[in-house]
Symmetry: C2
Subunit: 479 residues, 2 copies
């Protein structure tokens, strides 16, 4: 056992001891329904920020700040709706130490019991060694995980091996509004001297082996609005005599992607970087197969059976998903309505070397062209709602190396080096604005159900995760 | 002026006098949100039934009954949900008089202020000589209209010219569950001796000229459920690697109808009765043009410009409308979800000589075939949710003739003889079970917005409508 490994033993023991306290802290965090996408819950998002501030102060943070981001830009329903603040805090400012910025988000996806949750989404419930609740894994578990690590250090009177800068935001699930500007503003201010950024806001590939993540897909989210009648109409009276917006929208949405996930918009696939032999080889070591995908999706609906095909289509090829329709009938039972205005929602996951602006143009031209072919008297408008670029890093730099050592020590296995299908747009902003590298160090598993019902975090992932985050700081501090 | 016209003058004067009272009665009725499609509002539907009972008793009704219809059959969310009762009442039982059964419904479509209503949907508001509120025209206005006529007779001490049997139901907007059985049961019981049935639950064709309606389209309502993953998934993690239910559903829904309203399901159009020369001639007298259609739809989205084309496609050709999708994202903004199970809703308006069972088979075979072509690993189930047959009557029988005279007297114009695009399935049941004819005598205008936001009833239609209903009873009583 190396000296560093020896020195971490008491810390790991303390983390084990504090397990009940850690679960209690996460319980308190999950109990605050900080849904950033629901304007009526905005006060709860703010309450969550204050909860973090109070915890950080108790753990001895310096220079804690609640950074106001002003009014949320349109479209909003609530007039003068304030954005949730960014929580900033520092631990240490020793010029002899390296400085790590840790980022996480304290807002969550919407969740209603009636969506199909087995338990109340905002009550953390332990079942079979798993903690169920909205935000348990995305991203309150990891954020609270950092606080837990700080508490263990404090309890032991153990100095942090690095200076720590915390940056926790409350709008990640709603486009991270305001964060880009803040990072730009503070690059030479609050964030000056940061050597690396560590983000814990993604997942293991499967359920058994830890990973470090060096790439993310981007996401361009679009909406297609089709408008016709002045108000919703009765299908008995108007069916057959007017152009129905739903018919037009469904036709256009049906032309975007085939059932095997191939994007049908000309120009899109041509922008994708070709696979090199070197890149192909990276996929050889990864432990994953179609059974894990099926277990995670809870079905046998995999398009590809081969591991490389699956991973490449998740990580390095674009995808297009149809999310839903705003304005149409969405309830149970039967309603004989002709909706007056319907808004189809879809997004494209982007990869190197797709150009976001070119993609928008291809999407707009294609959809406008398809709609023109229909010769409908309704009107169609297609818009980009938000976009975030893809990101790819060097998986062999100091930060990744420290994280690999930490993972090996805690989990007794070398991590897989993976990419992710999802996007964390802020990754790119940190890299560009702070001119430093970024590491993605996930805590939860691939079947955690982020953004879904019955979101969970396995207790081993939570507790060993706190050890991994802690060990990462120690290895990085000495690198 | 004929003797009967002379005798109606005091009645019409009394109706004019009672106008404030009539508006107050409708206000009370609209204030009860008797939405039959919302299980949580079922107590309000029952409250509405009790309101009618109390009014009927005050007006001197005999043998008032609240007929229990038992438990609502599946699918329901609320266990042991009781169906709303049928309100039955009689006025008179003179064997020398004819007996008219009047039918209406006291339940309404769902309505939320946030759907876009200018005013609270359950507060009757008078603006520009129109009464706005959910149910004002569909169908509380006409139901309360009958009560108003009874009140005017009572105030004058005027004998009713016929025996009246009232049958008011509370599930019309939700498939009239239980009513068919009740009519069958009471055909030789409570309803014995009924000579004709008068239903006031439809609308003028346009906004200027009263109509009598001798035909209705039927409606077969279907749902297509596509199921894949075990729960909703994150499109970043699963986009591109699994078959997405939304993609499959949108493809299949896109194959049902073209943007010009032509049904694409083989066999359907072939069942439609050909247009005869005699039938064509019926359309010549009707006052209607595309401008009225556009005014009613609040848009210029008419597929046809010619009056006959419009009316035939509304009345005597089938139509197919896509209503919406249950289970997909339906909110504002962006949610990066892959819905696990989505249920597409659509309905087909049916006409002579379509066979409902054959139609179901054509629909099921076509959709299952289209889905099989997709070769998706998701599963699809297509089902009929409910159906109601079309109806066509003889527009020259005694009942229609009495209604035509009443209309001429009140409105000073001969009514158009029209059909309707919508369905009132119970029309057919009354005709078949009571072995009598049925008259549709509308009160509201074509732009009333039944089933839509800002539903209204023009005050002239309400007040002259009460006169028309009253005069109809007098002319029919002497026929």
């Amino acid at each position: 056992m190396s000296e560093i490994e020896q020195s971490l033993k008491p810390l790991f023991d303390e983390i084990n001891n504090l397990k009940p306290k850690f679960i209690e802290r996460l319980t308190k965090a999950v109990a605050i329904p900080s849904v950033s996408g629901d304007e009526s819950l905005r006060p709860k998002v703010v309450e969550m920020a204050h909860f973090l501030v109070s915890e950080l102060k108790e753990l001895g943070a310096d220079d804690v700040r609640l950074r106001d981001l002003g009014i949320q830009p349109p479209p909003v329903t609530t007039p003068d709706l304030k954005l949730p603040p960014i929580v900033l805090a520092k631990f240490g400012s020793d010029p002899a130490k390296k400085t790590v910025l840790i980022y996480g988000h304290y807002d969550v996806q919407p969740a209603l019991k009636e969506d199909g949750w087995a338990t109340d989404p905002f009550t953390l419930v332990e079942v079979d060694n798993k903690l169920y609740g909205r935000g348990s894994t995305d991203d309150k578990g990891p954020v609270i995980g950092w606080l837990n690590s700080l508490e263990a250090h404090k309890k032991l009177g153990l100095d942090l091996p690095v200076n720590l800068v915390c940056c926790f935001e409350g709008m990640e699930e709603s486009g991270s509004l305001g964060l880009d500007d803040l990072i730009a503003e503070e690059a030479e201010g609050y964030f000056k001297g940061v050597d690396t950024v560590c983000i814990s806001d993604n997942y293991w590939l499967g359920t058994k082996k830890p990973v470090l993540t060096y790439g993310l897909r981007g996401c361009n989210y679009y909406q297609i609005s089709v408008k016709g009648p002045g108000a919703d109409l009765h299908s008995g009276i108007f069916g057959g005599v007017i152009h129905e917006p739903m018919t037009d929208l469904i036709k256009v949405m049906g032309e975007l992607v085939d059932v095997n996930g191939n994007i049908l918009i000309p120009g899109v696939n041509e922008m994708v970087a070709p696979v090199t032999e070197k890149e192909k080889a990276l996929y050889d070591a990864i432990e994953f197969d179609v059974d894990e995908l099926n277990a995670a999706s809870g079905s046998s609906t995999a398009i590809y059976q081969d591991t490389k095909d699956i991973l490449m289509h998740r990580w390095r090829y674009p995808s297009l998903s149809l999310h839903g329709i705003e304005g149409a009938f969405y309830g149970g039972g039967a309603k004989t309505v002709i909706p007056a205005k319907v808004i189809g929602k879809f997004s494209i996951r982007t990869v190197p070397d797709m150009d976001s602006k070119k993609l928008d143009k291809y999407v707009f031209d294609y959809i406008n062209g398809k709609f023109a072919e229909l010769k409908s008297k309704n009107t169609l408008v297609v818009e980009l709602i938000h976009d975030g670029n893809y990101w790819v890093s060097d998986p062999f730099n100091d930060s990744f190396t420290a994280a690999a050592k930490a993972t090996k020590l805690v989990w007794n296995v070398d991590p897989d080096f993976t990419r992710e299908g999802g996007s964390i747009p802020i990754t790119l902003t940190f890299e560009e604005q702070l001119k430093t590298n970024v590491l993605l160090l996930p805590m939860g598993r691939g079947d955690d159900g982020a953004h879904s019902i019955n979101e969970k975090l396995d207790i081993p992932n939570y507790i060993e995760g706190v050890k991994t985050l802690s060990a990462y700081l120690h290895f990085y501090g000495r690198s």
